[in-house]
Amino acid sequence: MGATIATFRSPGGIHPAYHKDLAAEQAIREMPLPSALIVSMSQHLGKPAIPTVKKGDSVLRGQVIGSPAGFISAAVHAPTSGTVKLVAATPTASGPRADAITIDPDGEDTWIDGITPCPDWRQLEKADIVNRIAAGGISGMGGAGFPTHVKVSPPPETLIDTLILNGAECEPYLTADYRLMLEHAAQIWEGALIIARALDAHTIRVAIEDNKPAAIAAMQAAIPAEAGDAAVVALKTEYPQGAEKQQIFAVTGRTVPAGGLPLSVGVVVENVGTTLAVWDAVVNGRPLTERVTTVTGGSIVQPANVRARLGTTYADLVAFCGGTTGPVAKIISGGPMMGFAQADTSVATTKTTSGLLLLGPDAVHAYESQPCVSCGRCVGVCPMNLMPNELSQFLEAEDYEAAEAYNVMDCMECGCCAFECPAHRPLVQHMRRGKAQVMLNRRKQ
């Protein structure tokens, strides 16, 4: 079977209950157009896009409705044809408000003119590939949402030798990437070749956790002959194997310096969903207007992997999946480890919405403000080798200097510490607060 490369053991990590069986065997379902789409301008890391349409405009699918606001930003396209009903600041899944464009679909779903397929992408210059990716408005679809065209155009002096496709999907519950690998293995590989060409990377590794043997087999079987040094790597199943730095270490043995970027060790990591979107944008010329989201959790009647237009409200997704069973205590955008809890289902999907999780009251974990008992479990499981116990106590006392000295800025909020904390302390929230304040203090200086 597929695992051909020995993997390295990165520090920390936990083994949560995965609950992937809820949706893993559900083939991707196409969701019909909902009655309204709320397309946020903040779908990616960096500055939100600037709306280029106004109320009453009619738009076609694939038309740019938000232009990138600077280098680290990405274009936003109309997910279907219809009329712009509203442009207004709307809460996003992670909390802060951003401009969003509400579109009334006309039901025709007409693509805009000028979609130019390019099956012969091997003839394209590197810059052309990057341009097509940028024109497609593609940003990372695994979670953080870093604009992809920025990632695939590293500074010229940087040598990239390895492209890692991240198919770890280490978040519990989520199965969207798993389904993509099963159903679109060939296209993902072609997307990988495109990115590798843009980067001049000669080595391609697909990293998949070993609890997904079917995906490993499918990706293994689909390795194209022209790929050269390409292989599927079976990672030990452990959260957070999908985290960039940890995955790079597990696959290549290289350590990204603290505070540094993967570029510095010659590696670029792309999520498999992003890679598929790159394929679609470069080969078919179609910008990113839809994505696969896992709608799951104990409160969902029919957990499913749904291909839905960007801007589909969570309420519509839930309705498409048969509604809810019993009371819903927690609504989570994303996975249970790093996702954002929502007050209601009014928020809409974006390019980063990998999952929508609805939990009943019995599945909800409550944080308490108990004192730390110094058990040290958080220190043992922290993949960044931090001391969450000390940090949280510094931050409780609002000692931000001490927290900075103890590397709070290296925390990636993976949640391993809070997952293991027997005192149920809200450790990640302390870290978030600490990071925000340290950033603020730095800017003041």
């Binding site: 809460p91 909390g95 802060p96 408000r97 954002f340 809890a341 929502q342 007050a343 209601d344 409550a366 944080y367 403000s369 809200p426 929230q429 302390h430 978030r432 607060r433 925000a436 304040q437």
Partner: protein, 262 residues
């Protein structure tokens, strides 16, 4: 040799030797220091509240002497300290207007509903960062007492899920102003007693949904004053504290009772 003489000689000799040593040390190791810094530090109240904008009283003292900082920045010290400083430094005292902090939100538990059940760190910044805060009103006081915790004199009380400043206890240090993630706390002249206790910039209907005592932007109050003592900033009525206002008319006319006299 008499014991007294021996004693005197021994101790005196030892003392002389030691003082010689110290004299040498003082000669070669001494550090220049402006004695006025210490004097000013002694005049300042020593609360180290940071209200003057310096880290502590000693830092402020140094700033006064070395950088010629203004001498009227110490709010807790009040007129007495200002006078002492002015006398000492030979400057004229220009008293700053006495200001107290006020929380411009009256949406307590009964008036302003929550939009979700918040579970986490009991701190306003932390709560504000999660889903935009658990209050339906995205401008109102969250009630997790971040301001009360930083108040050096315990002048802020949490009642009914919102913060209230006791004006007579407030020492004008502005620590709470900086601590509020929603910028609800303002420093206002203590002579002014009429306030619009709302900070919501939302339109009327949205405010109505989120809070029973919010400003709905009806502009009625602005018509009750003769010199724009209350004026509209968007959909929010704001008191102009520079102008004196002592009329009950706006209070009586306000349909949501968000204008109050303290």
């Amino acid at each position: 040799m008499t014991p007294i003489l021996a004693t005197s000689l021994t101790i005196g000799g030892a003392g002389l030797a030691c003082s010689g040593l110290l004299a040498l040390a003082a000669r070669f190791l001494s550090v220049e220091e402006d004695p006025r810094v210490e004097e000013v530090t002694n005049i300042l109240p020593g609360a180290n509240c940071g209200g003057c904008g310096f880290a502590g009283c000693a830092n402020y003292a140094e700033a006064i002497i070395v950088d010629n900082a203004a001498i009227n920045l110490c709010a807790p010290g009040g007129a007495d300290v200002l006078k002492s400083l002015a006398d000492m430094l030979g400057q004229t005292a220009q008293a700053a207007e006495h200001k107290v902090a006020i929380v411009l939100c009256n949406g307590d538990t009964a008036n302003a509903p929550r939009k979700f059940e918040y579970n986490g760190v009991a701190d306003c910044h932390a709560a504000h960062a999660i889903g935009g805060g658990d209050k339906l009103c995205s401008y109102g006081c969250l009630g997790y007492a971040s301001c009360a915790r930083v108040c050096p004199v315990g002048a802020i009380e949490m009642t009914g899920g919102i913060a209230k400043v006791h004006p007579d206890l407030c020492i004008s240090c502005t620590a709470c102003v900086k601590a509020c993630p929603r910028q609800l706390i303002k420093m206002v002249p203590s002579a002014r007693t009429i306030h619009v206790l709302c900070s919501s910039k939302d339109k009327g209907p949205a405010v109505k949904k989120a809070c029973k005592v919010g400003c709905i932007g009806c502009t009625l109050c602005t018509k009750q004053v003769d010199d724009e003592q209350i004026k509209m900033e968007g959909f929010l009525a704001v008191v102009d504290y520079a102008k004196p206002l002592d009329s009950d008319a706006p209070i009586e006319k306000c349909p949501t009772h968000c204008i109050v006299r303290t």
